[in-house]
């Protein structure tokens, strides 16, 4: 049994000008010790998916359907009291925006300590000592001094590392990391990715990693799920996905990644490759393929009929009528 199993998740927001189908029928699983990366265009529902697992979305506006099973229990059906015991403990999260998720009036030491006191019953002194340890683990210089600092006295990258320290403090079984390293330079990023790998090996934690950086995906993910406009459009083992991306959106994405050493590759630096066009509005119902409007290979058929997510080769799912399929049955 998987540690986390998301079944046909739908998250729709009611807004003054219509329903926003932010997540529209997404299923996936993550096993212990496994890292699943989620990639996809801005606004495709990655953060909403992760916030749903933690039940952090405003409830009357957000309407849920489907199930989110963690260690067999459906989190969507759990009372708030039970959910609070899980959050920050068995499941923890590193958010995209450290500036807005840290409390500006508390020292960072207090904020790390808080989690430990709440979930592990440490007293104030033990909690501070452990907070110093966590700060040094995430590579913050002079942790004994910084433990007394307020968020505004730290650089963007340090605040991000404080968030990571909070998330790792209780050795979670599932770590949800939403753009954990975007605010960090590459050397610190490498350290943080090592920390995440270590968590995975030491406690057998599962990691759900959301990122725009395909370099990071290539380094740490076991499997990758590609989302587009609230749907899952492709999923495969990492090497398989990079070698043979099957969905045209995934191919566009791979082609748009800037790589270091442009001159060594014999290309002149200059404009970056874009994927032409824009994502469709999530407020109008789309009958055909969600990517048809931007797809270089779209036929009329694609605009009328939504492609089902199907197995194109063993362990490789894609939702495209024309994606190549291996001859042998999967």
């Amino acid at each position: 049994m998987s540690l986390l199993s998301v079944e046909n998740l739908q998250v729709h927001f009611r807004t003054p000008d219509g329903v926003n189908r932010a997540v529209d029928g997404v299923s996936f699983e993550i096993g212990s010790g496994e890292t699943l990366a989620i990639v996809g265009e801005s606004g495709c529902g990655k953060s909403v998916t992760s916030m749903s697992i933690l039940r952090l979305l405003p409830e009357p506006q957000a309407q849920f359907a489907g199930a989110i099973r963690f260690e067999g229990r459906d989190l969507l059906a759990l009372p708030d009291r039970e959910m609070r015991k899980i959050r920050g403990n068995a499941i923890s999260v590193v958010f995209q925006e450290p500036m807005t998720s840290l409390n500006p009036v508390l020292t960072v030491g207090r904020q790390i300590g808080e989690t430990l006191r709440l979930h592990q019953g440490l007293d104030a002194r033990q909690a501070e000592a452990r907070a110093v340890e966590m700060l040094s683990l995430v590579g913050i210089p002079e942790p004994e001094r910084r433990v007394h600092a307020y968020p505004h006295q730290m650089s963007g990258g340090m605040r991000q590392r404080v968030m990571i320290a909070i998330a790792l403090a209780c050795s979670p079984r599932l770590l949800i990391a939403d753009e954990p390293t975007t605010a960090l330079d590459v050397t610190i990023q490498a350290q943080i990715l090592d920390l995440m790998r270590d968590l995975k090996h030491r406690v057998g934690a599962a990691i759900m990693l959301i990122t725009h950086d395909l370099g990071v995906v290539a380094e740490v993910a076991d499997r990758v799920m590609v989302m587009y406009a609230g749907r899952k459009v492709e999923e495969a083992a990492v090497a398989d996905l990079f070698r043979t991306p099957r969905h045209p959106y995934t191919r566009g994405l791979m082609g748009a990644v800037p790589r270091l050493g442009v001159r060594a590759q014999g290309r002149a630096p200059g404009r970056l490759a874009e994927i032409p066009g824009m994502v469709p509005s999530l407020k109008t119902r789309i009958d055909g393929c969600v990517f048809a409007g931007r797809c270089p290979d779209a036929k009329d058929f694609c605009r009328l009929h939504a492609p089902a997510l199907e197995s194109k080769s063993p362990g490789h799912l894609a939702a495209c009528h024309f994606a190549p399929k291996d001859a042998r049955p999967a």
Binding site: S42, R145, V147, M154, T187, P269, R271, E274
Partner: protein
């Protein structure tokens, strides 16, 4: 050649000479004295019209502080900031106000830099009104429409509020607001970091187009070295409050001289799962800017450190083909091949 006179190019629109910003910090816990945090400690560079200088370096090395002191969001401790030939660091805030127009900033998080209760129209019109750029109502309206077109947003976006836009669209609004002031220089502090690959490409391409059409100079702060390599003219690498290497794009990416620059470049993740990674792993912790190491500030983590590095601080020394490096081992005759 002194560090202060190192010039990357001919007619600079922005010059920064020996800029310093020190913060007083409280002592943390027993036995820890209050100290001085040297966030920026003697930074000099110049930026020519129509060119891009990228500022890269470790988290906490002082990049945002450089940007904020140039814009006087923070008061500099010492040093000079010269905008189009005129010193601005010593002006009073009221004398500075009219000059503020010429240098604009785009932040990482567009959401926090836009007023959530103001429709986009008002956010963008604000600089036009403040600096009295429009001749009457119809000119203001025409300017707003031109700006929306320029940054690739529909005209009806003017009537909407920030929360109704995606991250990439909000970043376009932030750029439209910066452009509205008709600046000579735009400072982008991690302006594209939070964006997805394709939107990032669109925004970077937009900045390059604007630069070409209006001769805008860009100070581009970013952790994304692959993007920097695509779009910059010059690069300055910072470590612990100082510039340790500068150079043209070609020189810096092809023959990095400073061991820190080489470590940085080697740490960029490659988008290939089975790639053979020859990463230079930096040992040790990032030193504290409150008590920086003696000698070369990088010596505690440098893979090629020699005795001299522990005691003697290497000056930023000009290289024959342009650029400069602060390393005892990266002499004029070639990079340290250690």
């Amino acid at each position: 050649m002194s560090a202060a006179s190192l010039s990357l190019s001919a007619q600079p629109v922005l010059e920064v000479n020996d800029l310093r910003k020190h913060f007083a910090v409280a002592g943390g816990g027993p036995g820890r004295a209050a100290g001085l945090l040297r966030a920026v400690d003697g930074v000099s560079f110049s930026l020519a019209r129509g060119e891009t200088l990228s500022l890269v370096g470790e988290s906490g090395c002082g990049k945002s502080t450089v940007a904020k002191t140039i814009l006087r969001l923070l008061a500099p401790t010492s040093g000079q900031v010269v905008l189009a030939g005129r010193r601005i660091d010593d002006l009073t805030l009221s004398r500075l106000r009219p000059l503020r127009r010429r240098i604009q900033m785009v932040f990482q998080d567009p959401f926090s830099s836009l007023n959530p209760r103001m429709p986009v129209r008002d956010s963008i019109a604000e600089p036009i009104r403040n600096f009295r750029l429009a001749r009457g109502r119809s000119d203001l309206e025409a300017r707003l429409l031109r700006l929306m077109d320029r940054v690739g947003l529909p005209a009806d976006a003017l009537g909407r509020y920030p929360h109704e836009f995606s991250g990439g669209q909000r970043q376009r609004i932030g750029i439209a607001r910066a452009l509205a002031a008709e600046p000579d220089v735009i400072v982008c502090d991690e302006a594209v970091s939070a964006l997805d690959v394709s939107v990032k490409a669109q925004i970077v391409n937009l900045l390059m187009d604007l630069q070409k059409d209006h001769g805008i100079a860009l100070l581009f702060i970013s952790h994304d070295l692959a993007v920097v390599e695509h779009m910059t003219h010059h690069v300055a690498v910072m470590y612990l409050g100082r510039i340790v290497e500068t150079g043209s794009r070609e020189a810096l990416f092809e023959t990095p001289r400073h061991p820190y620059t080489r470590a940085l470049l080697s740490a960029v993740p490659v988008p290939e799962p089975a790639a053979n990674r020859a990463r230079i792993v930096l040992k040790g912790d990032v030193p504290s800017p409150i008590a920086p190491p003696a000698g070369c500030s990088f010596h505690t983590r440098c893979p090629s450190c020699i005795e001299r590095c522990r005691t003697e601080e290497p000056p930023l020394t000009a290289l024959p083909g342009g650029g400069a490096v602060a390393c005892h081992l990266a002499g004029a005759e070639g990079a340290a091949h250690a």
